[in-house]
Symmetry: C2
Subunit: 245 residues, 2 copies
């Protein structure tokens, strides 16, 4: 596997030209899989936490697609997570959960733990850049998560602000518009190539963050570099290194 080494010149241009770093959150900044497995082990140890986490997440893109396509009106991720959860409970032997227990379990997405490098990396990047989230998660979820995990966002941005789920171009262009910047002065940092493709199509810079364990140890993810990304970093501290922070 070749890791691209941007020339010092191109890195210098990126450092000078980039003003805002917008981060994907689920998988990129926080470990949704590990967090859900740990919470299931604590709450419902009889359930296969790995299978449960993967099944819940598998419903995520199809649920958002129902909003993107117009089949559903605007619905926040909290509600989409709940619709998916309702469909999984019987299958995982959890049909007996009462409403309060279902509400609490659904909010596990507000309680996700950061990857070990995320807080330190973001704190370094924040000294030189404006750092914000750009997640399909809703504002309340992202704010509760940031407060609990210590994510030091300058601004919490979400698909909820733009009423457009990534990869809708309006979500990416919305960040540039919020900060009155041309798109190339905003960099999307994400662990998902399809998210980065969407951002690049709108003129944003892109940085790939390796998260090989996003889906757990049983399903290690290919984190090969893609030459179209401006940067490729092992983690968020490595991104800070690349950007001279």
């Amino acid at each position: 596997m070749d890791t691209p080494h941007p020339s010092p010149l191109s890195n210098e241009v990126l450092k000078a030209d980039t003003h805002v770093l917008a981060f994907d959150v689920f998988g990129t900044v926080v470990d949704w899989h590990g967090s859900i497995v740990r919470e299931m082990q604590a709450l419902y140890p009889a359930v296969d936490g790995n299978a449960f986490a993967l099944a819940w997440r598998a419903g995520y893109q199809p649920a958002m697609q129902r909003v993107r396509s117009g089949e559903l009106g605007w619905i926040r991720i909290d509600e989409l997570h709940r619709i998916i959860l309702n469909g999984l409970l019987a299958q995982f032997g959890l049909a007996h959960l009462n409403e309060a227990e279902r509400v609490h379990l659904n909010r596990v997405w507000h309680r996700l733990d950061a990857w070990p490098d995320s807080v330190a990396g973001l704190q370094r990047l924040k000294k030189k850049f404006t750092i914000c989230s750009l997640s399909n998660g809703n504002l309340g979820l992202l704010t509760n998560m940031a407060k609990r995990a210590g994510l030091p966002w300058d601004c919490v941005l979400s698909a909820e602000v733009f009423r457009a789920y990534k990869p809708d171009p309006y979500a990416y262009l919305g960040v540039a518009q919020v900060f009155d910047l041309p798109p190339h002065q905003v960099m999307l940092c994400a662990a998902h190539q399809d998210d980065l493709v969407g951002a690049r199509a709108c003129g944003l810079r892109t940085a790939y963050i390796e998260r090989p364990m996003e889906f757990g140890a049983g399903q290690v993810k290919d984190v090969s570099p893609h030459p179209d990304n401006d940067l490729h970093a092992h983690d968020i501290c490595a991104l800070a290194d690349l950007l001279g922070c």
Copy 2:
């Protein structure tokens, strides 16, 4: 002037029941008048900075009213500030400013200084509550301001998110909806009684913050308590005292 002393019981109820503190920003958290006077003295010392700051701010409510009434579509405060500024330049002997100078001057609203107690008070409140802005200022303005002044918001909320300028009820109710809370678990903290009246009408709790010098030493503001507010605080540190932080 009598300062209301809420009974320990009512204060205990407020402390237990309130989850989110939403702050008005211009005048409440930052000193727009003093900041603009200081910047004008540095940039254009021949101009009467006090008169200029007051004239610029005087255009603010009428400009927003043109949006609220539907005469104008949604326009951010940055653009409204610029429209007002354009109308003042000749009157203050600044018609010679070129475009870059006008853009820079207009962004003085991104560079406002916090009142001396704001950062320390917010840091104390943040330990116990979720703290957010709820300002008619736009997201980019509020984020740049917070970064420069060190305002430790958990989340930057703005009329821009709700596409509704305060006192439109949707701005106040929008905060409660973002956090999935009933309105009475959100408290608006502001130095303006009309803002607090709007919040109270939507079921939010209210805290008045005294800012007698908001309009400068030449126009000291009445900061008498209003009995309908839940709390009345000398400044944001005093609010932290009242809320047991």
